[in-house]
């Protein structure tokens, strides 16, 4: 037991190092990593970075950018730069939770479909295909509209749930095909032959091997979840008390920022969303390269 743990630890360290090497070689992935780190740092240290509390009126409303308020103020006199910095927290939170929940659902379905095969596989995959072929955003909008009107829980959770419920199908497909190929591998066969229960095989042997796919999926799902959240907020389905970047754009729209020419209100949040989505996508590319060495660019 102890030997095994030591071995896996060493392996993990090696893996981290190798991953770093891949990222260092791949400029795009490195950019993604740097951007990601910067945004996460911004979210974590928001209270220290933001000049004001974004939930407090600190000046006259609708101020243009000035020394005091680098991005001006919003409709109730809150500092827009502080809103932008704090917005990272909520946007990342929504993206992260939705992606993790979505990936979890997808992994669960993909694992069961792939492992049990037969009728279960057929039924689950039909269902997955159905979801996959539908316009995702349209369904998310529908779900968000419905879920936020059912219970009395905060609207934020409703939106996260809606995003998660439409994010899983592609994960399920990928996990399933990975499981299918793993199922044929020798050690699973061997485990089955010695009578290891199927749940144990799934958790102990198959799951660790599909982990790379899951990690990549969480990262790309996060990018998509953040985009979806912004779209929902823009359409007026967001939680008005949670100041995500999407919500900032929504407020800018309903308080006539376009008419007033206040580009400093609706441009920065859009750029921030773009940058974080970009970071996730680039990182996803890098990770894919690491896990799938065939994709690696040949050194010149």
């Amino acid at each position: 037991m102890g030997v095994q743990a030591e071995l896996s630890e060493r392996l993990n360290l090696g893996a981290l190092y190798e991953m770093w090497m891949v990222f260092r070689r791949n400029k795009a992935a490195l950019t993604g990593l740097i951007l990601f780190t910067a945004i996460v740092l911004m979210a974590v240290f928001a209270p220290y970075l933001a000049p004001y509390n974004p939930y407090e009126s600190v000046g006259a409303p609708f101020q243009p950018p000035s020394d005091k308020h680098p991005l001006g103020t919003n409709d109730v006199g809150q500092d827009l730069l502080s809103e932008l910095i704090y917005g990272a927290r909520i946007s990342l939170f929504i993206g992260f939770v939705a992606a993790v929940v979505g990936t979890f659902i997808g992994t669960f379905i993909g694992l069961s479909a792939g492992y049990f095969g037969g009728l279960v596989d057929e039924a689950l995959m039909r269902f997955t295909d159905m979801w996959l072929s539908m316009p995702t955003l349209l369904f998310t909008i529908f779900l968000a509209a419905v879920i936020t009107r059912i219970g009395t829980f905060p609207m934020l959770y409703g939106i996260i749930l809606a995003i998660a419920l439409t994010a899983w199908p592609s994960v399920a497909r990928m996990v399933r095909s990975a499981v299918l190929s793993l199922k044929e591998s020798l050690y699973v066969e061997a485990a089955r032959a010695i009578g290891v229960p199927s749940r144990r095989i799934l958790v102990k042997h198959i799951l660790p091997n599909v982990a790379p796919i899951i990690i990549i999926e969480v990262i790309t799902r996060m990018a998509i979840a953040m985009l979806t959240e912004a779209s929902l907020s823009f359409l007026g389905l967001g939680d008005p008390t949670a100041k995500s970047w999407g919500m900032m754009i929504h407020y800018a729209m309903i308080r006539n920022a376009i008419t007033l020419g206040m580009w400093w209100w609706f441009l920065p949040p859009g750029i921030m969303i773009s940058l974080s989505v970009l970071a996730f996508m680039l990182m996803g590319l890098g990770l894919e390269e690491y896990f799938n060495p065939r994709l690696r660019y040949k050194e010149q």
Binding site: P61, F62, D75, V76, T148, R149, I150, G151, T152, P154, M155, G236, D239, P240, T241, Y251, M253, I254, R255, N256, A257, I258, T259, L260
Partner: protein
Amino acid sequence: MSLRNIIAFLVVALVVLPSLGYLAGVAHAQGGLKITAESYDRWLLKECPCEGGKLVIALPSEPNTFNWFVAGSTWSILVLNPLYDRLVRIVNGTLTWEVATSMEYSSDYKVLTIKIRDGIKWHDGKELTAEDVAFTINVLAKYGWTYYHGYFASVDRAEAVDKYTVKVYFKSPDAGFIYNGLASMNILPKHIWEPLLKEKGDGLAKYAPKIPDELVGSGPFKIVEYRPGQYVKYVANKDYWLKKPCVNELVIVFIRESNVALLAVQKGEVHAYYGWVTAEVVPQLLSTPGVSIHVYTSPTFYHWGFNNLKWPFNITEFRRAMAFAVNKEAIVNEILMGYGIPGSPGVVPPVGINAQWYNPNVQNAYYFDLNKTAEILDKLGFKDVDGDGWREAPDGSDFSFEIYPPAYDIIRVRAAQKIAEWLSQIPGGGIKAVVRVLDWKTVWPLIRDGKVDTYLLGSGPGNDISWLYRRFHSWPGGTGNWARFSDPEVDKLTEMLKTTFEPEKRKEIAWRIQEILAEKVPIVVLYYRKMINPYRSDTFDGWFKPADGGIYNRLTLLNVYMKPEVCPVKPKPTTVIVEKKATVVQTVVQTVVKPGTTVVQTVVKTLTTATPVQPAPATTPTTPVEKGPNYALIAAIIVIIVVVAAAALLMRRK
């Protein structure tokens, strides 16, 4: 007939008639109550400085239906407004005769006799008669699915006695009937709707009338075309009986984003916007040359409602304490940016038609004073016993409540947050109030079913003060009494409002109710909002700007004209005016003989007939299109073909 006789007649008529009318309003004349109302004359423009032109009005939403019987949304009513006439209408807070010329109640108030004007024509040329009026009232009284049925539920039946007289028979006297029911009832043509009703029965509720064939009205504009999601187009009804509209065409466009609508007004593509405009754009609008704004106060009362059945809100003193903790002025000044007036403790808004029942004495029944709140709370035993900065319930347990504003209205969300802030600042320990923002669809059933502590709600008052019955009578009578307020005296008084017809007595009752409401505080009215409508003042003039309503209204439609400098047709030469004076003298004589119509109206009428040298319509007559979307489809197909061909070429070249 000598000239002396005529003059004598005139003098008598001028002196006696108005005084008679005055007396009729106060006392019972011959057994029943005669209704008094204003005439349109004082608002109407005598003549159009310019005729012709196209007026474009933007609304934030499209009509849900053109079937007026089920027209639920404001936007449907607004879009049908140019089309239909009413018996009476509330113009700038006063009752005004439209199709009706007089109304009289029988002595037991169970019969209302309505006389209507003769010579009104539907757009298809048939005459509007008492039959049409009776038909419309009967449908509303009989069918529960009509949206105005609630106002007509007391009606037993309506009968056309002769061509111009209608008698309405009531099951029970209903003092609010004229203001609530008749003033909001469009008269629909019997010859169109009766066959439809016979054919469809209750299915008429789901019926969408064909445009324009089945949308025959008698109003100043005829409907020509409707593009879903885009616009409705009308042409002026040049034979309109009250006054010929000055513009030739009216287009109502639907622009949901106020951002876009405002830009369209600034660019001059749209001449007025009747929608929600928030105050921050006012400076920019006013700095745009040619754009002005009309500011009016909406009578909707936005209030902080308490569930009067739930502890501790069932304690009158506790509710009073809450009332002292609300700074209404701060909400108006800071959140509404001054565009609002603080709510009256008596609930009744001091604007519009409700102003006549408004009791100004209760204005200071409560005011912002946190010390006072603290004092009352101390007396009630709500004290901070454990020293955590928050007050506990009298039994010493922790205590907090929730405030539910709807998520779509940022003003109310902010107001709720402010209230919570003030409550936390009460000296000697705050009250913990949690603001919970949820979608309206979720919150509303909770409010309706009495499951929440407090909520922020905007409710519209009715035209007639008997709406207090609906809002404050205890259940099950007060079906709009979401605060679950119950008070025997208010019950009695609101019931009286429904059956008392004498104006003075009604006012007395209304004042007393407001005193009780101010004392018992079932709800705290926070504000009445001031609305902003931007409009073009450089190209159009003659806008009618009521203090309690938007820029888009009946009188604007009749009066608004293009300014002479941009007028497509030059005004008539001065010689016509001489001719006009001649006709005026003539018509005065006519009016005396026929006291039903008023002086100026006849002048206008004669003028239009006496001067047939009216300029021809400036714009080309519009051709109605029978099937619209097909053209869009054809255009789309052309585009597709062109695009595909271009793409194919592009592909081949390489």
